[in-house]
Symmetry: C2
Subunit: 566 residues, 2 copies
């Protein structure tokens, strides 16, 4: 491709609203342009990258036996009413009325539609298993769309849905999809991690997420370097401390602690660490019960785990705390309290600890369970942290951050039962189908890949995703026939070899051309200038190389080809 | 592909609601399945065909210098308000409110969005011309969706938009797109015709439609076999008869014609032809003027032509006719009438004609312009018909029917002016861009191709669009190792040669397998049976061949390859 026949539109500065590096860089490189909140046009350069991701996803899905189809984006409300999700999916679903006032939505996901197809088309166990997939534009009406295409409202998704005669078959396809996803992210050249995950609004039993690793990732992932264990921190079990609770050595003592309310303030006041301060978090359940959650001061409450114990809950207001504990939020604690209490496993192992005295401006020190306060129910209530024992007993956990780009679910019979998707088994008996679903955020992958691969000069894409493999940058092409001739000759040679090459055939200043090619993320660059050309040479530089190297013009095609093979 | 690893779902009968052959066949062949009115899932088999069309369109667009991008499907109302089309586009546009109650639409077309991109990204004449295109799902909320994907609500469209520094540049790209469309439909293997067309709701100056020719086509097309002239009948000029009006030979005479109201009845009553009866059509303009349109009895009013003369108009009610003409609709005529009259050119050439007498139950015969009635304004008011002189003077017109699959427009400055899309010309002066737009109904092409190519056994697709090129049908594969071995060997050989082959590896009855392969439109079929295999032969039959021919198994791959080259 020639720059003169393509459309490259780079910016010196990203709009100030862009926060994440990938968002800034995608705007600056002219990969995307914003139309409205959460709505982006994929400009020619960005679309090339998006299509590379799409094609790799499609190829690997086909290899694994997936069968592509294409469902409508607009879906009738009736199907969603059959599964009950029309009411519960919430405002993320963009609801639409057509000219006849019938209800539709712009599909946020397609479980209902595909299960409707399955119940109509599949009669016999002989037609199972089958794994349908599509690559399609989806819409989710995010409350706060942000980070560019990372959390856009309209986005491209690969969604696959498998149907099975029994659970063993579902497990087999689930594993095959797990493997396929690993192949996809490996081919894309990304560092990624598969982790056990919560099933959320989609439902079902088992579930894994695939994360591109990046410091800016929204999700914290717990993993064990010594084993296969990996889970979203939402899910990762925080196991009980190995050592039993130490015996009490101190007496309980009430101390005036005026103005000391946070864990940090209290720990500093008593010249101890947060590990020795008990954190009491007051919540109110859906049934209006006031409950204290007890954690070690340095630990964070895991709301998903608490939710599984309590059902829907919310944090108590200052008023509710005062009404139930007779003091302000910074001074509540378990001693003498009459309300229901749940203790985290690590909190339950504390001894001689500090906690609020249920008296404004006072804390206790030297508190011990059993002696000073009854230890209630003990549960896993906190986020796992680095250094925790791995739940599989094979080492200690580390924490990294990731961007979720894939999610696979064992839906089991949730949708098939609601929509009555049945088949006749080998004995002629009607059975409900087992079902799995498997999503990949195709457009999000582009942002995630950049979040993982960039520097101060711009985007550094893995070769499999780069919009072009090689840039040819001729210096002073307008003035020098030798430069023009060499550039055209090299361009033709590389194009004929099937290499995706971009020829910068607009006579810009070298600095502008170099900056453009670095910003948009082309892995290899050849600069052709009159001076080195006189010696028969051109300058090669890889996108991550510290400096250029001189190579003979006549060897350049072979040299580039060898670089592309690496 | 193996049938056992694919998803084929054929039906013996199409649902009764399907009217057109293509709709019936696409349902029966399992190309598509209906989700709701005007919403169809492209099943695996149909999607293969759709992708072939999409890929050919993309390849040819790229060859012609088109640059692909991808705009959001959901568009903010603000842009449509800037061009004024939010109010005028009508209920075909699916309007949406998001969770914050902001107005959006599911894009029926993208002139506004692309012009917004152009005005932001294009500063200089050096960036022009540029031709952006996308291949994308569009939504138009048809009053009465029908004919399957032929007139669906959600459909796949290729829409291109070009921007130019001057009109000469627009004309050049317009011609290049005309040529590109011709190449696309030629590569697809379709009989088609490009015709001059009305610009309709999109606006602008020149416009051509591309039609796939088929008897069931909704559009009538006028063309001259002896020249390049071709136009939609909506647009085709009906030229004045070559001969001058004949002199009067009869006296005007009023005759009682009780109950004779239609042209046919009146012509029969007077034992003459409809050509000799003057048709008077009463209409009312937007300004409430009552107007008589005079046509030859055998001609049809062209409402688009009349609209260009009168502005918006409607047919007069019985009451309005009675109030203005003092008689009922079947008896109105020009003689003695005081209302404004417009005569078609062919009507103006009539002499000694029959017309209503403006008296219930009476007609005149022997009427002549000039003598009996003043001839008012003469215009082209009718549809051209077969046998009319070609407007280019090079022969006579014929009429055929077509399905519109492409439409190209010279939009000129309509959108660029409304959205202030300007650039700096070579003199540094701000100019408004010239603009063209170019659409292809990608999904409709599949239906149109079938409408043009089918027989009583099913779909006959041109090779470029067929879901697979070759079907291998082994008879009794389950019982015969020889058959299975030969089938597998041939399958492997053809796959390795890069040929798209479908192996019918489910042990169905021969009749079922033959019917399936014929229904879904695979151009070539090889049947492997034990008997002929004993002689080393298999049976080849082309989809349109009257009978099979025996060929040696060992030659089969070469034989098939030679067939595919034809």
């Amino acid at each position: 491709m020639r720059v003169s026949q393509f459309f490259i539109s780079t910016l010196k500065e990203a709009p100030s609203e862009a926060e994440l590096p990938s968002h800034k860089l995608m705007l600056r490189a002219g990969y995307i342009r914003k139309l409205a909140s959460g709505l982006y046009t994929w400009m020619p350069l960005g679309l090339r990258v998006l299509r590379k991701v799409e094609n790799i996803v499609r190829e690997e899905m086909n290899k694994s036996g997936g069968i592509e189809l294409l469902m409508p984006a607009v879906q009738p409300a009736e199907l969603w009413q059959e599964t009950g999700r029309w009411a519960v999916f919430g405002p993320q679903m963009l609801k639409i009325k057509d000219r006849h006032d019938n209800n539709f939505c712009f599909g946020p996901t397609h479980e209902e539609v595909i299960t409707d197809i399955a119940r109509r088309e599949i009669r016999s166990y002989r037609q199972l298993p089958v794994n349908f997939y599509q690559i399609q534009t989806k819409f989710r009406d995010e409350v706060r769309p942000r980070f560019g295409v990372m959390r856009a409202r309209e986005f491209m998704m690969k969604d696959a849905y498998s149907f099975h005669a029994d659970y063993a078959s579902l497990e087999q396809t689930y594993q095959a999809m797990h493997d396929t996803y690993s192949r996809i992210f490996t081919r894309l050249g990304l560092q990624f991690r598969a982790v056990a995950a919560d099933t959320g609004a989609i439902g079902g039993s088992g579930s894994h997420e695939f994360h591109v690793l990046a410091d800016s990732g929204e999700d914290a992932l717990a993993f064990c370097p010594d084993s296969d264990y990996a889970a979203n921190v939402e899910m990762a079990e925080a196991v009980a401390p190995a050592a039993a609770r130490a015996a009490a050595t101190q007496q309980i003592q009430k101390t005036i602690t005026p103005g000391q309310r946070t864990i940090e303030e209290v720990a500093a006041f008593f010249a101890t660490s947060a590990q020795n301060v008990l954190k009491a978090i007051a919540v109110v359940t859906h049934e209006d019960e006031f409950v204290l959650l007890l954690l070690r001061g340095d630990h964070q409450l895991n709301e998903i785990k608490a939710g599984k114990l309590l059902g829907e809950f919310r944090f108590a207001s200052d008023d509710e705390i005062h009404r139930n504990m007779n003091c302000r939020a910074g001074y509540i604690g378990p001693v003498g309290s009459k309300v229901r209490m749940l203790a985290d496993r690590a909190a339950a192992a504390m001894s001689d600890f500090v906690c609020g005295a249920n008296d404004d401006g006072f804390h206790y020190t030297g508190v011990n369970f059993g002696r000073d306060v009854q230890l209630g129910d003990v549960h896993d209530l906190r986020n796992a942290v680095a250094g925790d024992p791995s739940p599989d007993g094979k080492g200690t956990l580390e924490i990294c951050r990731g961007i979720e780009v894939g999610h696979i679910f064992q839906l089991r019979k949730k949708y098939a039962e609601a929509l009555n998707a049945t088949f006749l088994d080998a004995q002629g008996k009607t059975q409900v189908m087992e079902m799995g679903c498997y999503g990949i955020g195709v457009s999000r992958i582009v942002a995630a890949a950049i979040e993982q691969n960039y520097d101060e000069r711009g985007i550094i894409l893995p070769a499999a995703m780069a919009p072009f493999q090689v840039a040819i940058v001729p210096i002073g092409m307008g003035k020098s026939d030798a430069v023009r001739g060499a550039a055209e000759q090299l361009y033709t040679g590389l194009v004929e070899a099937g290499i995706e090459v971009l020829l910068y055939d607009r006579d810009e200043r070298p600095g502008v051309m170099f900056a453009d090619m670095e910003l948009i993320g082309i892995p290899h660059r050849i600069v052709i200038g009159e001076r080195s050309l006189k010696e028969g040479n051109v300058e090669y530089q890889g996108r991550c190389d510290a400096q250029a190297q001189s190579i003979p013009l006549q060897n350049a095609p072979e040299f580039v080809k060898s670089k592309l093979c690496n």
